[in-house]
Chain length 140, copies 2
DNA sequence: AGCTTATTGCAACAAAGTTGCATCTACTAT
DNA sequence: ATAGTAGATGCAACTTTGTTGCAATAAGCT
């Protein structure tokens, strides 16, 4: 299973034309194996044993994944970025759910934060970030 | 004008039953004088000259204002909390707009992030935080 | 196999916020 | 008015999350 994600990650990264490095492959593999948005810290934990990767390098890898559109960053109220691999045209405009109990974050793919929000005159819309908070099935 | 806000702040604070201290009064007065959500740092700037208040104390005052429901905190993608005085039943459920150019944040009072978001089975809604990003009238 | 340049690791730094504790002060009760 | 007390404040030190500069390394090309 895991090597499956690794191969998948390798192929995705190869297609960007940029270098295929262990750090990028393992980090993306971790994200692919996860159905939810996870923090830098959580990714580090999952890499333990598999690959020793510098903290800073992981930050840079995650930044690179976002830039290349292979993953997306999710802002949260705890000042921590979370990352999730971009699946297909999963694309940009979608909402997130954060459990106020276990802090888990998932993507609400069905919910697209569309651009029909009424803004004051002269304001221009770019994007919307919607985070719904509550309790997940396990914590409820 | 300014002392007007000070008197208003004093009265609001008095009604909580907690102590009316210069830090609380001045901080709330600053928030009342502002129509948008501002950062700890911006509040500190506006207090310069009026009152020398320790960084930590301001953090605690802002926390207290939130707890007492006199102000609300707005999370943002720059990992910085912003605060705004709560006007009337302005209350909780509303959206925010953040200018991607000047980083200014305003409250979209007309837009209430209502609770009809479709969640997965077993999930329980608590609150929603909606941030619309784009350009404000001055930056557009 | 060697070259080139992107990537990595390390150390140091930065911003935002928190904690512990001694000191001070707003309010209360005299 | 004064004194006592719980609650606020100021200071120093710390934490967490993330960033920057730079020398060393290694991925992919020829």
């Amino acid at each position: 299973m895991i090597s499956d994600f690794q191969e998948q990650a390798k192929e995705i990264i190869r297609r960007t034309g940029d270098r295929v490095t262990p750090g990028r492959v393992q980090a993306l593999a971790v994200l692919l194996a996860e159905q939810r948005a996870i923090t830098h810290h959580e990714i580090e934990e999952r890499l333990l044993g598999k690959l020793q990767l510098d903290r800073v390098t992981l930050y840079r890898v995650l930044e690179w994944l976002s830039e290349k559109g292979l993953a997306h960053k999710v802002a949260s109220d705890d000042r921590v970025w979370r990352f999730r691999a971009n699946v297909d045209v999963h694309a940009h405009q979608h909402a997130h759910f954060k459990c106020t109990c276990c802090t888990k974050v998932i993507c609400l793919d069905g919910l697209n934060a569309a651009h029909d929000w009424p803004l004051p005159a002269g304001y221009r819309f770019q994007e919307a970030e919607l985070t719904v908070k509550g309790l997940c099935a396990e914590c409820a």
